[in-house]
Amino acid sequence: MIPIILATETHAPTGFFEQFGVDWPHFIAQLLTMLVVLWVLNRYAYKPLLDLLEERRRRIAESMAQAEQVKQELAKAQEAREKIIADAGKQAQQLIDEARAAAQRQGDQQLQQAIAQAEALIAKAREATDLDRQRMLTELKREVGRLVVETTAKVTGKVLTPDDQRRLAEETSKQLAA
Protein backbone atom coordinates (compact mmCIF):
# COMPACT_ATOMS: atom_id res chain seq x y z
CA MET A 1 0.00 0.00 0.00
CA ILE A 2 2.97 2.29 0.43
CA PRO A 3 3.41 2.65 -3.33
CA ILE A 4 -0.23 3.63 -3.64
CA ILE A 5 0.14 6.32 -1.01
CA LEU A 6 3.45 7.55 -2.38
CA ALA A 7 2.16 7.52 -5.90
CA THR A 8 -0.85 9.57 -4.99
CA GLU A 9 1.01 12.05 -2.85
CA THR A 10 3.91 12.64 -5.23
CA HIS A 11 1.88 12.49 -8.45
CA ALA A 12 4.26 9.90 -9.90
CA PRO A 13 3.37 8.15 -13.12
CA THR A 14 0.21 6.21 -12.41
CA GLY A 15 -0.01 3.89 -15.40
CA PHE A 16 -0.34 0.78 -13.23
CA PHE A 17 -2.95 2.36 -11.00
CA GLU A 18 -4.90 3.75 -13.94
CA GLN A 19 -4.83 0.38 -15.63
CA PHE A 20 -6.35 -1.28 -12.55
CA GLY A 21 -8.63 1.65 -11.68
CA VAL A 22 -6.96 2.32 -8.33
CA ASP A 23 -7.75 5.75 -6.94
CA TRP A 24 -8.40 7.22 -3.53
CA PRO A 25 -12.18 7.76 -3.72
CA HIS A 26 -12.87 4.18 -4.76
CA PHE A 27 -10.26 2.82 -2.40
CA ILE A 28 -11.77 4.68 0.56
CA ALA A 29 -15.31 3.71 -0.48
CA GLN A 30 -14.38 0.02 -0.57
CA LEU A 31 -12.46 0.39 2.69
CA LEU A 32 -15.52 1.91 4.37
CA THR A 33 -17.73 -0.86 3.01
CA MET A 34 -15.45 -3.48 4.49
CA LEU A 35 -15.16 -1.64 7.82
CA VAL A 36 -18.94 -1.34 8.06
CA VAL A 37 -19.28 -5.08 7.44
CA LEU A 38 -16.56 -5.71 10.03
CA TRP A 39 -18.32 -3.53 12.61
CA VAL A 40 -21.75 -5.03 11.98
CA LEU A 41 -20.53 -8.62 12.04
CA ASN A 42 -18.51 -7.99 15.18
CA ARG A 43 -21.37 -6.18 16.92
CA TYR A 44 -24.29 -8.38 15.88
CA ALA A 45 -22.74 -11.77 15.09
CA TYR A 46 -19.39 -12.53 16.69
CA LYS A 47 -19.90 -10.97 20.08
CA PRO A 48 -23.40 -12.32 20.86
CA LEU A 49 -22.71 -15.70 19.31
CA LEU A 50 -19.33 -16.18 20.96
CA ASP A 51 -20.80 -15.07 24.29
CA LEU A 52 -23.62 -17.53 23.75
CA LEU A 53 -21.19 -20.32 22.86
CA GLU A 54 -19.18 -19.54 25.99
CA GLU A 55 -22.35 -19.50 28.09
CA ARG A 56 -23.43 -22.83 26.58
CA ARG A 57 -19.97 -24.28 27.15
CA ARG A 58 -20.10 -23.10 30.77
CA ARG A 59 -23.55 -24.58 31.30
CA ILE A 60 -22.58 -27.89 29.76
CA ALA A 61 -19.51 -28.00 32.01
CA GLU A 62 -21.70 -27.18 35.02
CA SER A 63 -24.25 -29.79 34.02
CA MET A 64 -21.54 -32.38 33.62
CA ALA A 65 -20.06 -31.44 36.99
CA GLN A 66 -23.52 -31.64 38.56
CA ALA A 67 -24.18 -34.98 36.88
CA GLU A 68 -20.87 -36.24 38.20
CA GLN A 69 -21.74 -34.96 41.67
CA VAL A 70 -25.18 -36.58 41.51
CA LYS A 71 -23.55 -39.79 40.36
CA GLN A 72 -21.15 -39.69 43.28
CA GLU A 73 -23.98 -38.87 45.71
CA LEU A 74 -26.04 -41.69 44.24
CA ALA A 75 -23.11 -44.06 44.70
CA LYS A 76 -22.74 -42.85 48.29
CA ALA A 77 -26.49 -43.26 48.87
CA GLN A 78 -26.34 -46.74 47.37
CA GLU A 79 -23.40 -47.56 49.61
CA ALA A 80 -25.24 -46.16 52.65
CA ARG A 81 -28.38 -48.08 51.73
CA GLU A 82 -26.44 -51.31 51.41
CA LYS A 83 -24.75 -50.58 54.72
CA ILE A 84 -28.12 -49.90 56.39
CA ILE A 85 -29.55 -53.09 54.92
CA ALA A 86 -26.49 -55.02 56.07
CA ASP A 87 -26.73 -53.48 59.56
CA ALA A 88 -30.44 -54.20 59.69
CA GLY A 89 -29.76 -57.78 58.66
CA LYS A 90 -27.12 -58.08 61.35
CA GLN A 91 -29.44 -56.56 63.94
CA ALA A 92 -32.28 -58.81 62.87
CA GLN A 93 -30.03 -61.86 63.06
CA GLN A 94 -28.82 -60.70 66.47
CA LEU A 95 -32.41 -60.27 67.64
CA ILE A 96 -33.33 -63.69 66.30
CA ASP A 97 -30.31 -65.22 68.02
CA GLU A 98 -31.15 -63.44 71.26
CA ALA A 99 -34.78 -64.49 71.00
CA ARG A 100 -33.72 -68.01 70.26
CA ALA A 101 -31.35 -68.00 73.23
CA ALA A 102 -34.00 -66.46 75.47
CA ALA A 103 -36.49 -69.05 74.31
CA GLN A 104 -33.95 -71.76 74.96
CA ARG A 105 -33.21 -70.37 78.39
CA GLN A 106 -36.91 -70.05 79.18
CA GLY A 107 -37.59 -73.57 77.91
CA ASP A 108 -34.75 -74.94 80.00
CA GLN A 109 -36.00 -73.03 82.99
CA GLN A 110 -39.53 -74.29 82.53
CA LEU A 111 -38.22 -77.79 82.02
CA GLN A 112 -36.23 -77.54 85.20
CA GLN A 113 -39.26 -76.23 87.00
CA ALA A 114 -41.37 -79.04 85.59
CA ILE A 115 -38.75 -81.55 86.59
CA ALA A 116 -38.59 -80.04 90.04
CA GLN A 117 -42.32 -80.03 90.31
CA ALA A 118 -42.47 -83.59 89.08
CA GLU A 119 -39.82 -84.62 91.53
CA ALA A 120 -41.67 -82.84 94.29
CA LEU A 121 -44.85 -84.58 93.30
CA ILE A 122 -43.06 -87.91 93.19
CA ALA A 123 -41.53 -87.26 96.60
CA LYS A 124 -44.91 -86.31 97.99
CA ALA A 125 -46.47 -89.40 96.47
CA ARG A 126 -43.68 -91.52 97.80
CA GLU A 127 -44.08 -89.95 101.24
CA ALA A 128 -47.80 -90.51 101.13
CA THR A 129 -47.24 -94.08 100.02
CA ASP A 130 -44.79 -94.59 102.85
CA LEU A 131 -47.27 -93.13 105.33
CA ASP A 132 -50.05 -95.31 103.97
CA ARG A 133 -47.83 -98.29 104.11
CA GLN A 134 -46.80 -97.44 107.60
CA ARG A 135 -50.37 -96.93 108.57
CA MET A 136 -51.43 -100.11 106.90
CA LEU A 137 -48.53 -101.91 108.48
CA THR A 138 -49.54 -100.59 111.89
CA GLU A 139 -53.10 -101.57 111.28
CA LEU A 140 -51.92 -104.93 110.05
CA LYS A 141 -49.81 -105.41 113.15
CA ARG A 142 -52.69 -104.42 115.30
CA GLU A 143 -55.05 -106.73 113.41
CA VAL A 144 -52.54 -109.57 113.46
CA GLY A 145 -51.99 -108.99 117.19
CA ARG A 146 -55.73 -109.01 117.76
CA LEU A 147 -56.08 -112.15 115.67
CA VAL A 148 -53.21 -113.76 117.55
CA VAL A 149 -54.84 -112.87 120.87
CA GLU A 150 -58.23 -114.09 119.69
CA THR A 151 -56.71 -117.23 118.22
CA THR A 152 -54.68 -117.87 121.33
CA ALA A 153 -57.74 -117.36 123.48
CA LYS A 154 -59.79 -119.71 121.38
CA VAL A 155 -57.00 -122.29 121.22
CA THR A 156 -56.15 -122.18 124.89
CA GLY A 157 -59.71 -121.74 125.94
CA LYS A 158 -58.97 -119.29 128.62
CA VAL A 159 -59.63 -115.76 129.02
CA LEU A 160 -56.52 -113.71 128.49
CA THR A 161 -55.81 -110.90 130.79
CA PRO A 162 -55.06 -107.49 129.47
CA ASP A 163 -51.45 -108.04 130.35
CA ASP A 164 -51.39 -111.27 128.33
CA GLN A 165 -53.11 -109.59 125.48
CA ARG A 166 -50.56 -106.71 125.59
CA ARG A 167 -47.61 -109.09 125.84
CA LEU A 168 -48.88 -111.27 122.96
CA ALA A 169 -49.47 -108.24 120.83
CA GLU A 170 -45.92 -106.95 121.55
CA GLU A 171 -44.33 -110.30 120.70
CA THR A 172 -46.34 -110.59 117.50
CA SER A 173 -45.36 -107.10 116.61
CA LYS A 174 -41.67 -107.85 117.23
CA GLN A 175 -41.87 -111.01 115.12
CA LEU A 176 -43.59 -109.13 112.29
CA ALA A 177 -40.98 -106.40 112.45
CA ALA A 178 -38.22 -108.97 112.27
Binding site: P25, Q30, L31, T33, M34, V36, L49
Partner: protein, 281 residues
Protein backbone atom coordinates in the same frame (compact mmCIF):
# COMPACT_ATOMS: atom_id res chain seq x y z
CA UNK B 1 -24.59 7.31 -24.89
CA UNK B 2 -24.29 3.74 -23.72
CA UNK B 3 -26.69 1.17 -24.94
CA UNK B 4 -28.13 -1.11 -22.27
CA UNK B 5 -28.46 -4.73 -23.16
CA UNK B 6 -28.85 -8.17 -21.71
CA UNK B 7 -26.36 -10.69 -23.03
CA UNK B 8 -26.29 -13.52 -20.51
CA UNK B 9 -25.20 -16.32 -22.85
CA UNK B 10 -23.64 -14.69 -25.80
CA UNK B 11 -21.12 -16.03 -28.24
CA UNK B 12 -17.72 -14.67 -27.54
CA UNK B 13 -14.35 -15.14 -29.23
CA UNK B 14 -11.24 -15.43 -27.10
CA UNK B 15 -9.46 -12.28 -28.12
CA UNK B 16 -7.97 -9.50 -26.10
CA UNK B 17 -10.65 -7.24 -27.38
CA UNK B 18 -13.27 -9.29 -25.58
CA UNK B 19 -11.48 -9.59 -22.23
CA UNK B 20 -13.20 -8.11 -19.20
CA UNK B 21 -11.72 -4.70 -18.27
CA UNK B 22 -9.01 -4.83 -15.61
CA UNK B 23 -10.68 -2.09 -13.61
CA UNK B 24 -14.15 -1.45 -12.24
CA UNK B 25 -16.14 0.94 -14.37
CA UNK B 26 -18.12 3.84 -12.90
CA UNK B 27 -21.88 3.54 -13.31
CA UNK B 28 -23.15 6.76 -11.74
CA UNK B 29 -22.11 9.46 -9.27
CA UNK B 30 -23.18 10.14 -5.72
CA UNK B 31 -22.07 13.76 -5.37
CA UNK B 32 -18.39 13.80 -6.28
CA UNK B 33 -17.98 10.04 -5.77
CA UNK B 34 -18.15 7.91 -8.91
CA UNK B 35 -19.87 4.64 -8.02
CA UNK B 36 -18.38 1.62 -9.81
CA UNK B 37 -19.99 -1.70 -10.63
CA UNK B 38 -17.79 -3.50 -8.08
CA UNK B 39 -18.79 -0.99 -5.39
CA UNK B 40 -22.44 -1.75 -6.09
CA UNK B 41 -21.75 -5.46 -5.66
CA UNK B 42 -19.75 -4.84 -2.47
CA UNK B 43 -22.68 -2.84 -1.08
CA UNK B 44 -25.17 -5.55 -2.08
CA UNK B 45 -23.02 -8.22 -0.42
CA UNK B 46 -22.55 -6.03 2.67
CA UNK B 47 -26.30 -5.39 2.94
CA UNK B 48 -26.99 -9.11 2.41
CA UNK B 49 -24.56 -10.08 5.18
CA UNK B 50 -25.96 -7.44 7.52
CA UNK B 51 -29.53 -8.63 6.85
CA UNK B 52 -28.49 -12.26 7.33
CA UNK B 53 -26.76 -11.52 10.63
CA UNK B 54 -29.63 -9.36 11.88
CA UNK B 55 -32.15 -12.06 11.03
CA UNK B 56 -30.06 -14.78 12.63
CA UNK B 57 -29.20 -12.98 15.85
CA UNK B 58 -32.36 -10.93 16.49
CA UNK B 59 -33.44 -13.32 19.23
CA UNK B 60 -30.41 -15.28 20.29
CA UNK B 61 -31.46 -18.40 22.17
CA UNK B 62 -29.48 -20.91 24.15
CA UNK B 63 -31.06 -23.70 22.12
CA UNK B 64 -30.41 -22.53 18.57
CA UNK B 65 -32.49 -23.28 15.54
CA UNK B 66 -32.53 -22.46 11.85
CA UNK B 67 -30.44 -19.48 10.84
CA UNK B 68 -28.89 -18.99 14.29
CA UNK B 69 -27.70 -22.58 14.14
CA UNK B 70 -26.03 -21.94 10.79
CA UNK B 71 -24.38 -18.72 12.00
CA UNK B 72 -23.14 -20.48 15.12
CA UNK B 73 -21.69 -23.23 12.96
CA UNK B 74 -19.79 -20.69 10.84
CA UNK B 75 -18.59 -18.54 13.76
CA UNK B 76 -17.60 -21.48 15.95
CA UNK B 77 -15.85 -23.24 13.07
CA UNK B 78 -13.81 -20.18 12.18
CA UNK B 79 -13.07 -19.44 15.83
CA UNK B 80 -11.81 -22.97 16.47
CA UNK B 81 -9.70 -22.89 13.29
CA UNK B 82 -8.10 -19.54 14.13
CA UNK B 83 -7.68 -20.44 17.79
CA UNK B 84 -5.63 -23.43 16.70
CA UNK B 85 -3.36 -21.19 14.64
CA UNK B 86 -3.07 -18.01 16.70
CA UNK B 87 -3.70 -19.36 20.20
CA UNK B 88 -6.52 -18.84 22.67
CA UNK B 89 -5.26 -15.50 24.02
CA UNK B 90 -4.59 -13.54 20.84
CA UNK B 91 -7.51 -14.94 18.88
CA UNK B 92 -9.86 -12.72 20.91
CA UNK B 93 -8.30 -9.62 19.33
CA UNK B 94 -7.79 -10.93 15.82
CA UNK B 95 -10.90 -13.03 15.30
CA UNK B 96 -13.35 -10.25 14.26
CA UNK B 97 -11.14 -9.04 11.40
CA UNK B 98 -9.97 -12.45 10.20
CA UNK B 99 -13.44 -13.98 10.28
CA UNK B 100 -14.93 -10.96 8.52
CA UNK B 101 -12.30 -11.12 5.82
CA UNK B 102 -13.13 -14.77 5.16
CA UNK B 103 -16.89 -14.33 5.18
CA UNK B 104 -16.85 -11.13 3.12
CA UNK B 105 -14.42 -12.48 0.49
CA UNK B 106 -16.34 -15.74 0.20
CA UNK B 107 -19.66 -13.94 -0.12
CA UNK B 108 -18.22 -11.57 -2.77
CA UNK B 109 -16.60 -14.44 -4.69
CA UNK B 110 -19.73 -16.59 -4.80
CA UNK B 111 -21.96 -13.61 -5.55
CA UNK B 112 -19.77 -12.93 -8.57
CA UNK B 113 -20.74 -16.32 -9.98
CA UNK B 114 -24.41 -15.46 -10.24
CA UNK B 115 -25.34 -15.38 -13.94
CA UNK B 116 -25.56 -11.81 -15.13
CA UNK B 117 -22.25 -10.62 -13.73
CA UNK B 118 -20.14 -9.20 -16.58
CA UNK B 119 -22.78 -10.16 -19.13
CA UNK B 120 -25.44 -7.56 -18.41
CA UNK B 121 -24.45 -3.98 -19.03
CA UNK B 122 -23.73 -1.27 -21.55
CA UNK B 123 -21.90 -2.06 -24.77
CA UNK B 124 -22.13 -2.17 -28.52
CA UNK B 125 -22.67 -4.62 -31.35
CA UNK B 126 -19.60 -6.15 -33.03
CA UNK B 127 -19.12 -8.66 -35.78
CA UNK B 128 -18.78 -11.37 -33.05
CA UNK B 129 -22.03 -10.30 -31.40
CA UNK B 130 -22.92 -7.83 -28.71
CA UNK B 131 -19.93 -6.68 -26.64
CA UNK B 132 -20.51 -5.48 -23.07
CA UNK B 133 -17.98 -2.78 -22.34
CA UNK B 134 -19.39 -1.65 -18.99
CA UNK B 135 -20.97 -4.51 -17.01
CA UNK B 136 -23.67 -3.55 -14.55
CA UNK B 137 -22.24 -5.90 -11.93
CA UNK B 138 -18.61 -6.88 -11.37
CA UNK B 139 -17.27 -9.23 -8.66
CA UNK B 140 -16.19 -7.04 -5.77
CA UNK B 141 -12.83 -8.79 -5.51
CA UNK B 142 -12.11 -8.23 -9.20
CA UNK B 143 -11.35 -4.67 -8.15
CA UNK B 144 -7.91 -3.80 -6.77
CA UNK B 145 -9.48 -1.10 -4.60
CA UNK B 146 -11.44 -3.74 -2.67
CA UNK B 147 -8.61 -6.27 -2.23
CA UNK B 148 -6.18 -3.43 -1.50
CA UNK B 149 -8.51 -2.00 1.16
CA UNK B 150 -8.61 -5.35 2.94
CA UNK B 151 -4.83 -5.77 2.69
CA UNK B 152 -4.24 -2.23 3.99
CA UNK B 153 -6.65 -2.79 6.89
CA UNK B 154 -4.80 -5.95 7.78
CA UNK B 155 -1.43 -4.16 7.64
CA UNK B 156 -2.67 -1.45 10.01
CA UNK B 157 -4.22 -3.98 12.38
CA UNK B 158 -1.08 -6.11 12.20
CA UNK B 159 0.94 -3.10 13.40
CA UNK B 160 -1.49 -2.62 16.30
CA UNK B 161 -1.30 -6.29 17.28
CA UNK B 162 2.48 -6.27 16.91
CA UNK B 163 2.71 -3.25 19.18
CA UNK B 164 0.35 -4.86 21.71
CA UNK B 165 2.45 -8.03 21.71
CA UNK B 166 5.89 -6.43 21.99
CA UNK B 167 5.51 -2.81 23.01
CA UNK B 168 7.40 -0.02 21.21
CA UNK B 169 10.88 -0.94 22.45
CA UNK B 170 10.24 -4.64 22.05
CA UNK B 171 9.03 -4.15 18.48
CA UNK B 172 12.14 -2.20 17.48
CA UNK B 173 14.36 -4.70 19.24
CA UNK B 174 12.53 -7.55 17.60
CA UNK B 175 12.89 -6.01 14.15
CA UNK B 176 16.47 -4.78 14.30
CA UNK B 177 18.06 -6.48 17.32
CA UNK B 178 20.49 -9.36 17.05
CA UNK B 179 18.98 -12.79 17.50
CA UNK B 180 20.37 -15.93 19.07
CA UNK B 181 21.38 -14.43 22.43
CA UNK B 182 24.78 -13.09 21.17
CA UNK B 183 26.86 -10.78 23.34
CA UNK B 184 30.08 -8.79 23.18
CA UNK B 185 32.02 -8.46 19.93
CA UNK B 186 29.79 -10.90 18.03
CA UNK B 187 26.79 -8.76 18.90
CA UNK B 188 28.44 -5.62 17.51
CA UNK B 189 29.71 -7.42 14.43
CA UNK B 190 26.33 -8.84 13.52
CA UNK B 191 24.31 -5.74 14.40
CA UNK B 192 24.58 -4.17 10.89
CA UNK B 193 23.39 -7.40 9.30
CA UNK B 194 20.40 -7.62 11.59
CA UNK B 195 19.57 -3.96 10.96
CA UNK B 196 19.66 -4.72 7.23
CA UNK B 197 17.44 -7.79 7.81
CA UNK B 198 15.07 -5.59 9.82
CA UNK B 199 14.84 -3.13 6.94
CA UNK B 200 14.07 -6.00 4.58
CA UNK B 201 11.40 -7.17 6.99
CA UNK B 202 9.91 -3.68 7.01
CA UNK B 203 9.76 -3.78 3.21
CA UNK B 204 8.08 -7.17 3.48
CA UNK B 205 5.59 -5.98 6.09
CA UNK B 206 4.58 -2.72 4.42
CA UNK B 207 5.03 -3.58 0.75
CA UNK B 208 5.40 -7.23 -0.19
CA UNK B 209 2.75 -8.71 2.08
CA UNK B 210 -0.05 -6.23 1.33
CA UNK B 211 0.79 -6.24 -2.36
CA UNK B 212 0.83 -10.02 -2.39
CA UNK B 213 -2.52 -10.24 -0.61
CA UNK B 214 -4.00 -7.63 -2.94
CA UNK B 215 -2.80 -9.02 -6.25
CA UNK B 216 -3.31 -12.69 -5.37
CA UNK B 217 -6.99 -12.27 -4.58
CA UNK B 218 -7.63 -9.80 -7.38
CA UNK B 219 -5.77 -11.92 -9.92
CA UNK B 220 -7.58 -15.14 -9.08
CA UNK B 221 -11.06 -13.61 -9.15
CA UNK B 222 -10.40 -11.52 -12.24
CA UNK B 223 -8.87 -14.52 -14.01
CA UNK B 224 -11.84 -16.68 -13.03
CA UNK B 225 -14.21 -14.09 -14.41
CA UNK B 226 -12.27 -14.00 -17.66
CA UNK B 227 -12.16 -17.79 -17.79
CA UNK B 228 -15.94 -18.06 -17.54
CA UNK B 229 -16.27 -15.28 -20.11
CA UNK B 230 -13.95 -17.15 -22.48
CA UNK B 231 -15.74 -20.47 -21.96
CA UNK B 232 -19.01 -18.77 -22.77
CA UNK B 233 -17.60 -17.91 -26.17
CA UNK B 234 -16.16 -21.29 -27.12
CA UNK B 235 -19.41 -22.50 -28.67
CA UNK B 236 -22.57 -20.56 -29.44
CA UNK B 237 -25.18 -19.98 -26.77
CA UNK B 238 -27.10 -21.70 -25.25
CA UNK B 239 -24.73 -24.68 -25.74
CA UNK B 240 -21.92 -22.66 -24.19
CA UNK B 241 -23.40 -23.67 -20.81
CA UNK B 242 -21.76 -27.08 -21.40
CA UNK B 243 -18.29 -25.54 -21.61
CA UNK B 244 -18.95 -23.15 -18.74
CA UNK B 245 -20.37 -25.63 -16.24
CA UNK B 246 -17.12 -27.37 -15.17
CA UNK B 247 -15.46 -24.00 -14.66
CA UNK B 248 -18.40 -22.81 -12.59
CA UNK B 249 -17.66 -25.61 -10.14
CA UNK B 250 -13.96 -24.75 -10.34
CA UNK B 251 -14.73 -21.12 -9.51
CA UNK B 252 -16.91 -22.20 -6.59
CA UNK B 253 -13.86 -23.97 -5.17
CA UNK B 254 -11.57 -21.07 -6.07
CA UNK B 255 -13.93 -18.74 -4.20
CA UNK B 256 -13.55 -20.75 -0.97
CA UNK B 257 -9.85 -21.38 -1.42
CA UNK B 258 -9.01 -17.73 -2.02
CA UNK B 259 -11.05 -16.61 1.00
CA UNK B 260 -9.30 -19.23 3.08
CA UNK B 261 -5.86 -18.33 1.72
CA UNK B 262 -6.34 -14.63 2.47
CA UNK B 263 -7.53 -15.34 6.02
CA UNK B 264 -4.89 -17.98 6.74
CA UNK B 265 -2.06 -15.83 5.39
CA UNK B 266 -3.19 -12.97 7.64
CA UNK B 267 -3.39 -15.44 10.55
CA UNK B 268 0.06 -16.84 9.75
CA UNK B 269 1.65 -13.35 9.53
CA UNK B 270 0.04 -12.44 12.84
CA UNK B 271 1.11 -15.67 14.51
CA UNK B 272 4.67 -15.23 13.29
CA UNK B 273 4.70 -11.74 14.80
CA UNK B 274 3.37 -12.69 18.21
CA UNK B 275 5.16 -16.03 18.49
CA UNK B 276 8.44 -14.21 19.07
CA UNK B 277 7.02 -12.77 22.25
CA UNK B 278 6.38 -16.27 23.61
CA UNK B 279 9.92 -17.27 22.62
CA UNK B 280 11.28 -14.55 24.87
CA UNK B 281 12.34 -11.84 22.42
Amino acid sequence: MRAYSRALFRSFSMTAEHAIPTFAEPLFHIGPLPVTNSMVVAWIVALGLIALVQAGTRKVQLLPGGLQNFLEFVVEGLHDLLEGIIGPEFVKRTFPFLATVFIFILACNWTGLIPGFATIGWGHATEHGFKVTTPLLRPANADVNMTGAMALTFTVLWCVWYYQAHGAGGAINHLFGTKGGMKGAAWWMLLPFFIFVGLLELVSIFFVRPLGLTIRLYGNIYAGDNLLEAMAGVIPAPFSAITMLPFYFLELIVGVVQALVFMLLCAAFTTAAIMHEEEGH
